[in-house]
C-alpha cells in the first residue's frame, strides 16, 4: 500500500503553502525522515521529513500552492505499485536538482544532437539535468550548459592566516523569514536592472490634509495611508510602473495592490493593501491598521502577504532622508519615503522655512526607462504637494 505524503499544518492559521521543491526525482528511493520536500509560507520555510520509505511519486508540481492535508505525492512500495500510481496520477515535475538523466543503470538519456554538442564542448552529460520528455537531455540543456561555461574557476586559496581569525559571538540561522528576505533581496538585484531617483516634496499640504481628516473624528489617518492613495492614483496615470516581467513578457497589471513595508521586530514583512486604487484614504488607513494588528498577532493571511504590484517603504521614523530601496521582486518599482523635516527653501528670492520630505523611487530599468520613471515620481511629488490632483 502506497504511503501518502500530506502537508502538515505548520501554524494555527496556516491554510496553504507553496511547495518550493522536491528533494528527490520521481521514482527515486526516499528513506524515512529524509527531507523529501520544502514548503514555504511567507512566515516560514519548512523542510519536510518523509513519512516513510518508498519510491517517490510526486503529484503536486514544484512551485504550486498546496492546501493543508492535501496529498502531494505517494511513496510506492515497489516498481509495480509505482507504475500503477503513475497510470492513475501522472507525476508532476519535481525540479529536483539531482542528475536527472542518469538512470539507475548508468545510461544517460540524451538526444542525438545533445550528445554531439556535449562531445564538441567536452561536457559530461551525466552531470546535466534533462528538461526533455522523461528527463531526456535535449539541445536546450546543452545550450544552457555551454553558455554557463565549463564550471566556475576554483576560488583563490585563502591568504596565509597572519591575523587573528574572526570568531562569531552569535550564530543566527538563516531560516524562516530571514531566509525569504535573503532570497528575495538577492533575486531582486540579481534579475533586475535597478536604479534610484531622488527628489523632495513640500509636505505642508500633506500635513494639512491629515490634520483636517483627523480633526473630523473617527480613527486616526496615517501619513502612510495618504501616501498609499497617492501611489495608487499615480499608478493609474503611469500603468507601466504597475507591471512585472513574466517569462518573455511584461505584464501590466489591472489591479493595484500596494505593499507597505513594516518591521515589527521579526524581520521585514510587506502586507498588501489590495485594490488600493478603489479605496478611500480612510479605508486604506483602516486596512493598514488591521494589517499591523494582524502582523503583531501573527495572524496575517497569505492573501495579506502575497501578490503585490508596488511597494511603499517609509523610513521617516528613523530620521532617514534619501535612500535606495530595493524593489520587492517581482514588482518593478518601490517608493522610499524619508522623514518630514523643516528646511530652509529659497522661493522668489526669499528664504522660507517649510516642511520637506525626501522621495526615493527605485525601479527596474528593463521595463521602465529613466524619463517615464522620473515622470511617475514627478506625479507623486505633485500629488503630495497638491492632494487635490488625486481627484
Amino acid at each position: 500500500m502506497a504511503i501518502e505524503i500530506t502537508v502538515p499544518k505548520l501554524g494555527l492559521t496556516m491554510e496553504e503553502a507553496t511547495l518550493v521543491a522536491w528533494k528527490f526525482k520521481a521514482g527515486e528511493v526516499v528513506k524515512k525522515e529524509q527531507v523529501v520536500l520544502v514548503l514555504e509560507t511567507d512566515k516560514v520555510t519548512f523542510e519536510m521529513p518523509s513519512p516513510g520509505e518508498g519510491l517517490l511519486h510526486p503529484l503536486a508540481a514544484a512551485g504550486s500552492r498546496i492546501e493543508v492535508s492535501q496529498v502531494v505525492g505517494y511513496l510506492a512500495a515497489d516498481r509495480a505499485e509505482l507504475e500503477q500510481l503513475a497510470a492513475r496520477h501522472p507525476a508532476a515535475q519535481t525540479g529536483a536538482p539531482a542528475p536527472a538523466a542518469a538512470a539507475p543503470g548508468g545510461r544517460v538519456k540524451a538526444s542525438p544532437v545533445a550528445r554531439v554538442m556535449a562531445k564538441a564542448h567536452g561536457i559530461d552529460l551525466a552531470r546535466l539535468a534533462g528538461s526533455g520528455p522523461g528527463g531526456r537531455i535535449v539541445r536546450a540543456d546543452l545550450l544552457a550548459a555551454i553558455e554557463k561555461g565549463p564550471g566556475a574557476p576554483a576560488p583563490p586559496a585563502p591568504a596565509a592566516a597572519t591575523v587573528e581569525l574572526l570568531s562569531a559571538a552569535q550564530e543566527i540561522p538563516i531560516a524562516g523569514v530571514r531566509k525569504v528576505i535573503f532570497k528575495n533581496m538577492h533575486l531582486s538585484l540579481a534579475t533586475q536592472a535597478q536604479l534610484t531617483l531622488h527628489t523632495e516634496a513640500a509636505a505642508d499640504a500633506l500635513i494639512r490634509l491629515r490634520r483636517r481628516m483627523n480633526a473630523a473624528g473617527g480613527a486616526k489617518v496615517s501619513f502612510n495611508a495618504i501616501l498609499v492613495k497617492v501611489i495608487a492614483s499615480a499608478l493609474k496615470q503611469h500603468p507601466l510602473v504597475n507591471a512585472a516581467v513574466e517569462g518573455d513578457r511584461i505584464k501590466v497589471w489591472r489591479q493595484v495592490h500596494v505593499g507597505v513595508a513594516m518591521d515589527l521586530g521579526k524581520g521585514l514583512i510587506v502586507p498588501k493593501v489590495r485594490h488600493a486604487d478603489t479605496r478611500s484614504i480612510r479605508e486604506i488607513s483602516a486596512e493598514i491598521d488591521r494589517l499591523v494588528e494582524a502582523a503583531k498577532a501573527g495572524r496575517l493571511s497569505l492573501d495579506d502577504l502575497t501578490v503585490g504590484t508596488f511597494t511603499l517603504t517609509n523610513l521617516g521614523a528613523w530620521d532617514i532622508d534619501d535612500f535606495t530601496p530595493i524593489v520587492n521582486h517581482p514588482e518593478s518599482a518601490i517608493l522610499g519615503v524619508g522623514r518630514i523635516v523643516e528646511k530652509p527653501v529659497a522661493r522668489n528670492g526669499q528664504v522660507l522655512i517649510e516642511p520637506r520630505m525626501a522621495l526615493s523611487l527605485s525601479f527596474d530599468h528593463r521595463i521602465i526607462d529613466g524619463a517615464p520613471g522620473a515622470a511617475f515620481l514627478k506625479t507623486i511629488k505633485d500629488m503630495i504637494e497638491e492632494p487635490a490632483l488625486m481627484l
Partner: protein, 455 residues
C-alpha cells in the same frame, strides 16, 4: 450557485477535445463547450471532406495510369454526386464518434456557445460556470476576400462549395496554399476548368521552394492553369456567371467563372468575452498561456499560422498539462505541413531558406524519386526527398518531400526532428526496400557527402 469545474474547454474541435480528454486523464473535473458539431472545422468541413476528395483524385490518377499496366477498360470518370454522398456519411460517422469519445472519457459536454465571463467564469448561453482554468479552442472562421464583388453569391469559401455538393463548370481558386491546390486538382479531375490565382510567384509558398517548383512542374499535365503573382482586382455579375478582373505581372485580364473560391481564415474573437478578463487577443506564450491568468488558447484561435488540426491537438494536450501545473513549451518546429495534392507534398522543420535566415551553416541533401524503384513502380517520376541540416553538430533541421505517400512518410521525419536526430542518424536508419521512404536515408547521406544511389 453555478456549477464549477477545474477545467473548461471552449470548442469541440481537435484541439479542444484533446485538451479536455487530457484534463480528465490528469484527474480533474473537466467540461467541454461546443455550439454546433463535434469535431470542429477539421472533421466537418476540412480534413475529412477534402481528404476524401484527395483520395478520389488519387484514384482517378491511378485509373488513368492503369492502361500502362495492361488494364484495357479503365476509365477515370468521376461522378461528383457519389463523392459528396460519401462525404456526408463519413462526416456523420466521425462526428458521432467524437461526441461518444468525449462522454466515454468522462468529460462533461456542455451544448451552446461558450464565452469568457470574467476571471474564472465561463458562460454557455445564459448559464454561468466556474472554472479554475479555461482553454479557448474555438478555431478560425472564413474571411471574405477584400476586392469589390466579394459579396456576390458566386464568391464562396471552401466550406460553402463543399456544402453546395456540386462541381462548378469554371472555377477560380484564390491562393495557392495546400487547400487551394488540393481543391484545384480535385475540381480539375471532376471536369471543372480551373484557374489558380497564386498571390506569390510560386505555389505552396510556405513549403521549401524546391517543393513548390517541382509540384508546379508535375502539375503541367493537370487540366488547370496557374497564374503567378496574380491579384484579383474585382468580380462582377455576368449574364453567364461571374466576370473576374485580375492583374498578372502588371497586366489586367478578364475571365468568366461560375464560382470564385476563397480559402482565407482568421479567428473571430468578437463574441468570446475576452474583455471580461482584460484580453484583446488570444496571443500565447510558448506554454500556450494568454495574458490573462488561468486562460489558455490552442489551435487556430491563437491567430498564428499554420492552421492545422494536428497542431491544435498537440497544443491541446500541452495546454491542459500546463493549465494543471506543468511547465512545458510547445515546439512549433515539430509540426508537419502537408498538401494532399497529387503527388503529395509534406514538410517538417525548417526550409532551406529559413535555416539560412536563422544563421545556420546549412547543408542539404536531395534524392529525386525518379531514382526510387518503388516510385517508378507506382508510376510517379516527379518528386523529391530533401533534407536540410546544419554543419556544426550535424543536426537535422528539416525534411521536405514531394512524392506519393509523402503525408505518411513525413511522420518518420517529424519524430526525427522532435527527438533532435542528426543527419547521421537518418543516414544510418535502415529503411525497407523497395519503398519511397528509403530515399530519406539517401538524401541524408547526400547531405553528408556520401550518397549511395545518387550519381
Amino acid at each position: 450557485m453555478s456549477e464549477s469545474f477545474d477545467l473548461i474547454v471552449i470548442g469541440g474541435g481537435p484541439g479542444g477535445v484533446a485538451a479536455a480528454v487530457r484534463g480528465v486523464q490528469l484527474g480533474v473535473k473537466t467540461a467541454i463547450v461546443e455550439s454546433t458539431h463535434w469535431g470542429g472545422f477539421c472533421l466537418n468541413r476540412a480534413c475529412v471532406p477534402t481528404k476524401l476528395f484527395a483520395a478520389t483524385l488519387e484514384r482517378s490518377k491511378t485509373i488513368q495510369a492503369a492502361a500502362k499496366m495492361g488494364f484495357s477498360k479503365a476509365e477515370a470518370v468521376v461522378d461528383p454526386a457519389a463523392v459528396f454522398k460519401m462525404k456526408d456519411e463519413l462526416v456523420a460517422y466521425f462526428s458521432m464518434g467524437t461526441e461518444g469519445l468525449v462522454k466515454a472519457k468522462g468529460v462533461t459536454p456542455l451544448k451552446g456557445k461558450g464565452r469568457l465571463a470574467g476571471p474564472g467564469r465561463v458562460a454557455v448561453g445564459d448559464k454561468l460556470y466556474q472554472a479554475k482554468a479555461v482553454i479557448v479552442a474555438v478555431g478560425a472562421q472564413w474571411v471574405r476576400p477584400s476586392f469589390p464583388g466579394a459579396e456576390l453569391e458566386g464568391v464562396v469559401n471552401s466550406s460553402q462549395l463543399i456544402e453546395e455538393g456540386q462541381v462548378p463548370g469554371r472555377a477560380l481558386i484564390l491562393g495557392a496554399g495546400p487547400w487551394a491546390m488540393e481543391m484545384a486538382q480535385f475540381l480539375g479531375a471532376c471536369g471543372s476548368q480551373v484557374v489558380v490565382a497564386a498571390r506569390e510567384r510560386g505555389i505552396l509558398p510556405e513549403f521549401d521552394a524546391e517543393i513548390g517548383q517541382r509540384l508546379r512542374a508535375a502539375l503541367k499535365k493537370d487540366p488547370l492553369e496557374i497564374l503567378s503573382a496574380c491579384q484579383v482586382v474585382s468580380v462582377s455579375k455576368d449574364p453567364a456567371g461571374l466576370s473576374a478582373v485580375f492583374s498578372v505581372k502588371g497586366k489586367q485580364e478578364t475571365r468568366r467563372f461560375d464560382r470564385v473560391i476563397a480559402f482565407d481564415r482568421r479567428p473571430d474573437l468578437a463574441e468570446l468575452g475576452l474583455e471580461t478578463v482584460g484580453l484583446e487577443d488570444l496571443g500565447v506564450d510558448e506554454r500556450l498561456s494568454t495574458n490573462a491568468p488561468g486562460v489558455w488558447a490552442v489551435g487556430d484561435v491563437i491567430g498564428k499560422e499554420p492552421f492545422l488540426s494536428h497542431r491544435a491537438t498537440a497544443m491541446g494536450i500541452l495546454a491542459a498539462e500546463n493549465a494543471l501545473g506543468a511547465k512545458r513549451a510547445f515546439n512549433p518546429a515539430g509540426v508537419p505541413r502537408i498538401a494532399y495534392t497529387c503527388p503529395q507534398a509534406a514538410s517538417v522543420g525548417l526550409t532551406e531558406d529559413q535555416a539560412e535566415e536563422a544563421g545556420y551553416e546549412v547543408v542539404t541533401g536531395t534524392a529525386a524519386i525518379a531514382a526510387s524503384p518503388m516510385a517508378m513502380i507506382q508510376g510517379a517520376g516527379s518528386g523529391v526527398v530533401k533534407v536540410v541540416g546544419e554543419k556544426r553538430y550535424g543536426e537535422l533541421l528539416g525534411v521536405h518531400i514531394l512524392a506519393p505517400f509523402a503525408t505518411e512518410i513525413i511522420g518518420a521525419a517529424a519524430l526525427a526532428i522532435q527527438m533532435e536526430a542528426t543527419l547521421e542518424d537518418l543516414a544510418r536508419a535502415v529503411l525497407p526496400h523497395p519503398t519511397i521512404a528509403e530515399s530519406l536515408s539517401d538524401a541524408a547521406r547526400e547531405a553528408l557527402g556520401w550518397a549511395i544511389y545518387i550519381p
